[in-house]
Symmetry: C2
Subunit: 552 residues, 2 copies
């Protein structure tokens, strides 16, 4: 019988979180326990010392349906570093609860490279997503109430851009009409719900440096426009102090442990397309203040998560990235080389050769930021000796650092070679790709040409109008957050491998003045997932003893 992730996690005896905190160097009076195996770290009780740890950014090749195991490698790597005697910590995103009910899966690693307690991390955790939803939906209520109570600001109900959110996969909430039922029940208007991870307040939480900065960012959120097209901020509505008060606990990073007993800060989980896709800046900083090496991840491949990590999060938080890992699997490279999903377990050196260009492109992208990446080849049992040999030769030929890792089955022990290679190459001093002061159009062009290797950028009429609006309102110097398919370097999800010379089509630009970036939409982006025909919820159960089954 094959053990599932939840079986492995439940069979493990967790250390008390007080011991993990002690090992992490978190003072006891700053620890807020949530049960005995998870806690929050009270940032108001920490000294604000300069971070001294080295930061390792874990990214991956372009995602494929085969799965790359980026979080699993990150967790195994952190445990591998700890096994080498390094004071290591992981900084990770919190999983979204909606998808847990939808498609089997989560974001707590896998096998013997997991963060635990995995059931609690995947279900509610310490309530951060709920706090974000409460703040998001209270802001929505304040907007509609303002309109209802006389609309002193002259908000145009047709131009309210703020959406409600829920951490539930629910396609029926994508597009709704609210305020029906007559005059005492509000003004009917078209709107929608996103999943909580897509709320701007999630991005705000993840970029804030503290409570005051959080409040300032919430005040700066653009919620819509007046009848005469003037932007309206949350600050103008009032109630932003209450929204920040709702985030009092959520702003504190969560501390849990890996199966290897290494401290893991798991905090915040913004989308990696319409937002920047990394855990909170506060968690990363706290980790860097207390550990010598911190492994952190960014969503999707180097073109999305890593670029945004460096150009948005690292810029905003003054972070330096010392090393990087690009996670790849032989299966995913073959998929990028054109092999169908069902044939991925068959040896195919031609496909591997065709697909490895995708990896090379991601390696090159990371190098552009001044960092020397290590390729982590996440091994699967179907990988053949010849395929592994091909990868080693490829790395040697192209002077790329590569280490195999076997993290699902072996945990930290399977990542020791990777850990050593990473440790030996923590030499980078990361830079940013573009200067936002040159304007949104220039920033988009730079990312498109240098990271996506596009030949040109085209703006739709709507996007050109948005660009004018951005300039008119003084937002043209904000960094950009490009929302693009994760499956390709181009905006065409079927263009696998390493396309170049394509045209990037910018459809629409969304000001995210609280988060402090401009989102550039280049394709349809789904901010509220749906449930599949047979939802994962069907398999989940709980016994009278409180034991959860079927979660993964």
């Amino acid at each position: 019988m094959t053990l599932t992730d939840v079986d492995i996690a439940q069979a493990h005896t967790l250390e008390p979180i007080t011991e993990i905190a002690d090992r992490a160097g978190i003072p006891a009076d700053a620890l807020i326990p949530y049960g005995t195996t998870k806690a929050k770290v009270d940032i108001t009780r920490l000294d604000d010392t300069a971070p001294t740890g080295k930061l390792v950014l874990v990214t991956g090749i372009s995602p494929t349906p085969a799965g790359e195991g980026k979080s699993t490698v990150l967790i195994g790597l952190t445990d591998g570093l700890a096994r080498l005697g390094v004071k290591a910590a992981a900084a990770l995103r919190e999983p979204s609860q909606g998808p847990v009910m939808g498609i089997k899966g989560g974001a707590a690693g896998g096998g013997y490279s997991q963060i635990v307690p995995m059931e609690e991390i995947n279900l509610h955790f310490t309530g951060d997503f709920h706090a974000i939803a409460a703040a998001t939906n209270t802001l929505a209520a304040l907007i509609d109430n303002h309109i209802q109570q006389g609309n002193a600001l002259g908000i145009d109900p047709r131009r309210v851009t703020w959406q409600r959110c829920l951490d539930v996969n629910d396609r029926a909430l994508r597009s709704v009409i609210t305020g029906l039922g007559g005059p005492v029940h509000g003004t009917p208007r078209e709107t929608g719900f996103t999943i909580t991870a897509a709320s701007e307040i999630m991005a705000v939480l993840c970029l804030a440096t503290g409570l005051e900065d959080l409040k300032r960012r919430i005040e700066s959120i653009t919620v819509g426009f007046t009848y005469d097209q003037r932007p309206v901020t949350a600050g103008e509505l009032g109630g932003t102090g209450a929204l920040a008060a709702l985030m009092k606990e959520a702003i504190n990073p969560n501390l849990v442990q890996t199966l290897g007993g290494t401290p893991a800060y798991v905090h915040g989980g913004p989308f990696a397309n319409i937002a920047h896709g990394c855990n909170s800046l506060i968690a990363t900083r706290v980790a860097l203040q207390h550990a010598d090496v911190v492994c952190t991840e960014a969503g999707f491949g180097s073109d999305l998560g890593a670029e945004k990590f460096l150009d948005i999060k690292a810029r905003s938080g003054d972070l330096d990235v010392a090393g990087a890992v690009v996670v790849a699997t032989i299966r995913s490279l073959k998929y990028n080389g054109g092999v169908a999903r069902e044939d991925l377990t068959t040896e195919n050196l031609d496909a591997l050769k065709a697909g490895v260009v995708n990896l090379a492109r991601h390696v090159s992208n990371i190098q552009q930021f001044g960092i020397t990446p290590v390729v982590a080849l996440n091994l699967f049992t179907s990988d053949t000796t010849a395929e592994r040999e091909f990868m080693r030769t490829w790395a040697k030929d192209f002077q790329v650092l590569l280490a195999e890792a076997e993290v699902w089955a072996k945990g930290g022990e399977g990542a020791e070679e990777l850990a050593r290679t990473v440790l030996d190459n923590l030499t980078g001093t990361s830079t940013q790709l573009y200067d936002p002061a040159r304007g949104v159009e220039k920033s988009i062009e730079t990312i498109a040409k240098r990271i996506y290797r596009a030949g040109a950028v085209e703006y739709s009429p709507k996007a050109l109008k948005d660009l004018q609006l951005i300039r008119d309102n003084g937002w043209d110097d904000l960094p950009v957050c490009i929302s693009k398919t994760q499956y390709s370097f181009s905006d065409d999800p079927t263009a696998l491998g390493a396309p170049s010379g394509h045209t990037l089509h910018v459809r629409e630009l969304l000001p995210r003045t609280g988060a402090g970036f401009i989102v550039a939409l280049t394709g349809a982006v789904m901010t509220m997932p749906g449930l599949p025909k047979k939802p994962a919820a069907d398999n989940i159960d709980i016994g009278a003893d409180g034991r959860i089954s079927g979660l993964f």
Copy 2:
């Protein structure tokens, strides 16, 4: 300068929750800390012994805009009992977060009779309401997904009765159309959101005896009807194990403390009109297993909360009520006697005499359940000597037990006389008013005539149709939960005092097959509040040190 509730609460030094738990008799291994001053009690780690404590039900006269201070008296009384050397505990409802942002106020007592940490109890607390909302909204997503994915059960989208919920005061969500945007985004249908306290899952949580019973009740929820008018249950949709798993932590009662250091179980908060309005049965049972005297409250007056406590919760949970307190204030009695709100602080013995009939009716109602109530006269500084003397004489003349209490200003010390009177009269053995086996119509008639003192009950054509549906589906033996205005014994909110001979108008009957009762609507019931012109959120703020201000 007058101290506000939050000032008093923040100036107080809380005892560690571990010490409160120790005093309460909760074993250390059953305590799940949420920070250092609040915790959950893991019911899977408690022995299921028969409760041995005596239960005191705190109810009140018909609520008025003047405020009666029912929770404040309850908390003061519990501290008063503790001061007399009694091993006492309070069992209370959790406050709803939506109204905290709307109208100044909360449900954590007041002055020196509060439960603390009040900011955390009022904002998110331990996440129970969010868990209930997650389960409620996941069930809604499963319903719409079932319809989307082929609709094997033949659910009529026009007859889905299940509503989503949020713990936000948001009138714009009362009536909405979901599923817009075309075929891939669902089937458009009219629906609405309630506030979380009004979700049937809240009522289910509050009546469940444990995880298995919770799951069985969730499975039994009627979510709508098929095209051929057959009821559809949540159990038929699948995913109910996942919904119960989402409630894994929420089912455990929360333990906090009063300002007097007495244990307080604060768990669950269902509406007192469309639901039964009492804290969870589990919390009450745990309190009764560990304390000698437990003070618990029911929503609104004896006609609503207390009747439902006894006929729904006590029946379902096999609870015996040993004593009762009816909270009254001189101001509220004068309001019931016809005095305008702005004149309530002026002495008016005629109005007091006219209004005291309301109190007499509530006392008589409680007596019908086999309990001898004590009237708690909650003193205000505006009460005059003559008015207090009138009340004492009235009590003597009508052989009613009465004790003055000064709980806001003096805490438990101000409730010692009340505590002694209650202790001396814990002689009751409570009964139920009606036998549900005689049918919904008979149950409604019994409550209407004996508690509301109505002369007759009239059913609307819709209600008659609902009654037939209830009989056809075998639900006719469920207890009834009458939704009626809290301001009057009749269904006319302006008929103050003690009206009798009126006609109760039943408009509609709603099967709540998970909670296990039939809701009878007798007037318009608002299950989603709105925000006022100047929301309380405007005054709430948080400092860089995490200190919340302006909450009350």
